[in-house]
């Protein structure tokens, strides 16, 4: 407490209003300010009371104070009168006007009896100029605040900021692919490595590789390959290593991030990745190099899945799936990592179930491709998920002769997935449904028909098929369908219009007000389904753009990259969509992880009282990005005209 004492003219200590200071200090962007600055604010605020229903700010009027709500509630409107936001205790408004010609941009009305603390221009300007966090908070409405939130999260995780090059333990040990397996083995023993990079005979890795030059790397061989492919079958020692090496190699560029290496290993279930710099091998990284960064990425779980010999063995790993999910979230993984890891696990379980099924039923009578649809195909799977799958059979398929086998195989896999926690699809989009167990030629007809003669009703059911990925068997079948879709969809405006309309079915809310979700008409709800009102409509609209620009990508982030390469969206729009998607997804993921940790059944519903102020603000921003993107989608593909274009 400052005491003004008499007889000392230099003593101009002012007194502060302690209630004012204490209250300001509890809310962003004031909560991080030093004591001294808070006191300065508390000494200088003005206070004004507004009765419920009275106008606080009118459009265009001069504004000379930042408005802080001490108590009560305020509605802020767009210039056209639409509700922009509803604010309560601890929120600020008027900042845009303060930064823009000192004129009110968004009018405001008290909807309850409201007490406002007014922070005068001089102090506002000083904080804005000198305090970076404060400036970020008041300046960065919407997209840029979202960007900051997302990049801050990613900066905290070394998997997302470290490059693969840093993990390389040593220069690669290489040999010509013409050496014998015995020479290869002795070189590996001498050099103490478990993987050997094999070069095309005559290739010189010291020489600068130029585009157009023949590839340098021919393949890779590991300890395990020598055991399973050479020793076990009893190959002679002088067998050329090229006969047993993996020539269809999975590699990683040296400037990739560590998490990308992790996802590549997880997806392909490999434990050694050659690192290439412009096609030149610069090293090999192993599972253990990545695990030192992140121990619970699901990499071990995937190899464990592949070792199971029964459905019950797979089922017993279900709790490990949840534990992996929670640990990844707690270690700060982003949604792309979590979604890919969970999809990779789901894919591995499906693959293993197919192998077990074939063991039981014998080899398939005709080639097939097992296809994942929806979130697994997009690499965006979480723990609350049902199974969406289908079978593409070889065109030589004869239902009378072969279908009994594939029905049995599909049933085995579907029941197995259900046992492992992937519930049956309520829409019956599973390979057990004869409609979704068809030869490739029928699948081509399906897609052609969906694209050529779209109807709103049909698209509601078939939209999920436009996220597809082959996960076992003849992957080429699925690739053929991807190509068909990529080539046909972009040319068909009517199809895109219908698909857009389907993508506009679900809309985001406006934001939050106290412990409620606030809808655009001002109505309140107690909770929000963050999938239905956030991530799903966002993936839906990104799918439309991706198909419009002929992309074959399935993952929503990959689709955004493809879209960003075209001029389809304005500058920065793809980045805003990416940030919005990441934030919506990661909040959804975090809340599921909290549910699991608290022993509750995880779901997609979130109650606003469980959101931090940080999450609320950024979710509101993400909702706005989604809402604007939906408006653009409607306009761009003429979705509101019902897709009828003359």
């Amino acid at each position: 407490m400052a005491v003004k004492t008499p007889g000392n003219p230099t003593d101009n200590l002012q007194v502060e209003q302690m209630e004012v200071r204490e209250h300001l200090s509890r809310f962003a962007p004031f909560d991080h300010l030093p004591e001294e600055t808070l006191s300065q604010l508390a000494m200088n605020v003005e206070v004004a009371y507004f009765r419920a229903g009275s106008t606080i700010l009118t459009y265009g009027q001069a504004i000379k104070d930042l408005h802080f709500i001490r108590s009560g509630a305020v509605e802020v409107y767009l210039r056209n009168g639409d509700l922009y936001n509803r604010l309560a205790e601890g929120d600020i408004f008027g900042q845009l006007g303060m930064m823009h010609k000192k004129k009110v941009r968004f009018p405001a009305t008290a909807i309850e009896d409201t007490l406002i603390y007014l922070i005068p221009d001089a102090l506002f300007t000083e904080l804005w100029a000198n305090d970076e966090d404060f400036a970020d908070f008041v300046e960065t409405e919407d997209q840029s605040r979202l960007r900051a939130a997302v990049s801050k999260q990613e900066a905290d995780n070394p998997l997302m900021t470290s490059r693969v090059a840093r993990l390389i333990p040593r220069a690669p040990v290489t040999a010509s692919s013409s050496v014998s397996i015995r020479e290869a083995a002795s070189l590996m023993t001498e050099e103490h490595v478990s993987a050997l990079v094999l070069l095309h005979p005559g290739a010189d890795i010291e020489q600068n590789w130029q585009p157009g030059d023949p590839p340098l790397v021919a393949g890779i061989i590991t300890d395990r390959d020598l055991r399973t492919r050479a020793l076990a079958p009893g190959l002679p020692y002088d067998t050329p290593v090229s006969e047993i090496m993996s020539s269809d190699i999975v590699y990683i560029p040296s400037d990739a991030f560590v998490f990308e290496a992790m996802l590549t290993m997880l997806r392909h279930n490999v434990h050694h990745l050659p690192v290439l710099q412009k096609h030149k091998p610069v090293g090999v990284i192993g599972l253990s190099d990545i695990v030192q960064y992140e121990s619970q990425s699901g990499l071990y779980l995937v190899s464990n899945i592949h070792q199971q010999t029964s459905v019950s063995g797979l089922k017993s790993l279900s709790k490990d799936v949840r534990a992996t999910f929670v640990r990844m979230v707690n270690e700060g993984a982003n949604s792309h990592m979590v979604g890919s890891a969970m999809a990779g696990i789901g894919r591995a379980i499906s693959q293993r179930l197919l192998e077990l099924g074939e063991d039981k039923l014998g080899p398939p009578p005709v080639p097939y491709c097992f296809m994942a649809l929806g979130s697994m195909a997009r690499d965006e799977q979480l723990i609350v998920t049902d199974q969406d799958n289908a079978l593409i059979l070889d065109d030589s398929f004869d239902p009378n002769q072969h279908d009994a086998y594939f029905l049995e195989l599909a049933t085995f896999v579907s029941d197995g997935l259900a046992a492992c926690g992937y519930t049956y699809c309520t829409g019956d989009i599973m390979a057990t449904n004869p409609k979704w167990r068809q030869p490739l030629k029928v699948w081509k007809e399906y897609f052609t028909e969906w694209i050529r003669n779209p109807s709103a009703q049909a698209l509601l059911h078939s939209a999920i098929f436009f996220d597809l990925d082959g996960i076992a068997g003849e992957i080429e079948f699925a690739e053929t369908l991807k190509t068909l879709v990529a080539e046909r969809a972009k040319r068909d405006a009517v199809f895109l219009a219908y698909l857009s309309r389907a993508a506009l079915n679900r809309t985001p809310p406006l934001g939050f007000f106290r412990d409620f979700v606030m809808e655009k008409d001002g109505k309140h709800n107690n909770s929000i389904n963050l999938k239905r009102r956030g991530t799903a409509p966002l993936s839906d609209l990104i799918r439309v753009h991706a198909l419009a620009c002929g992309s074959r990508a399935q993952n929503t982030f990959d689709r955004l990259n493809a879209i960003a390469e075209t001029k389809l969206l304005g500058d920065g729009v793809a980045n805003n969509l990416r940030d919005a998607l990441e934030f919506l997804a990661i909040v959804r993921i975090r809340h599921q992880a909290m549910d699991v940790e608290a022993g509750r059944d995880p779901d997609n519903n979130i109650e606003p009282e469980n959101l931090s102020p940080f999450e609320r603000r950024n979710l509101k921003d993400a909702f706005l990005v989604l809402s604007n993107a939906q408006k653009f989608l409607r306009h761009r593909y003429h979705a509101s005209s019902g897709g009828i274009i003359n």
């Binding site: 209003q17 302690m18 009371y49 001490r70 009896d113």
Partner: protein
């Protein structure tokens, strides 16, 4: 807008501008002469145009003849804005020793008291802050009588000034009739017109009580709320002051 007839506002209330002119003549102490000479606005002044200052004392007890002022808080304001920048707060040394209970009550310590000046030493500043403004208090007896007594004791002459009393304004709303038989039967309690309870009725936040500066702010906010709910900005001062 007001439906309430100002009860004793008209009756016992002096014609303040005239009274100030008389007192400027009759006062002896130069500080008081200066205060009265700053004048008092006319009772016809609309409340929306009135400069006010919310004033609160913390005291060692409730009887101005036995107890002393311990601290003074004031905040200048008007119907639109309360100006914390011009807030003032003083701790003053009471004439009588501080009771142990009231120490805990006000949160003022003995060392603060012993270092504090006598009211006489800061009187100039206090009166300067009040000059030309209408004083607003919650429960007028305390501030008016304590200041009057304190000056009589020190200067051998008292002080008179008009006040707007937010508690009296609440009483006009809720105490304008005696409790009837029905109220007695229903055991209806009279509405509390204490500062904190009155504030709650206008949706004003809870503030920790018993700090002179906070209470002065709380009172200013209450008056703004009362004015918005019950009085038009054109309401003449004479309907509100005492």
């Amino acid at each position: 807008m007001s439906q309430n007839t100002p009860d004793n506002a008209a009756s016992g209330t002096p014609e303040w501008p005239t009274r100030f002119a008389e007192l400027a003549q009759s006062a002896q102490d130069t500080r008081l002469i200066r205060y009265y000479s700053a004048g008092c606005v006319s009772g016809d002044t609309p409340i929306g145009d009135t400069s006010m200052v919310s004033l609160d004392f913390e005291t060692t007890g409730l009887d101005p003849t036995f107890h002393s002022i311990v601290s003074i808080g004031l905040v200048p304001f008007d119907a639109q804005r309360i100006r914390c920048r011009e807030s003032r707060h003083w701790i003053v040394r009471p004439v009588l020793p501080l009771h142990r209970e009231s120490v805990t009550f006000h949160g003022i310590t003995h060392s603060e008291i012993s270092a504090a000046p006598d009211l006489r030493e800061i009187l100039d500043e206090v009166l300067e802050a009040l000059a030309g403004k209408i004083v607003v208090v919650h429960y007028r007896s305390i501030e008016r009588q304590f200041l009057d007594q304190a000056l009589r004791w020190r200067l051998n002459e008292g002080i008179e000034f008009p006040v707007i009393d937010t508690m009296a304004l609440e009483a006009r709303l809720h105490r304008n009739k005696r409790p009837g038989l029905l109220d007695w039967v229903r055991k209806r309690k009279p509405v509390s017109i204490r500062l904190a309870d009155s504030r709650t009725r206008y949706g004003l936040p809870y503030y920790a009580p018993h700090h002179a500066l906070t209470d002065a702010l709380a009172t200013a906010e209450l008056l703004q709320a009362q004015l918005q709910y019950h009085y038009s900005p054109e309401t003449p001062l004479r309907e509100l002051w005492y």
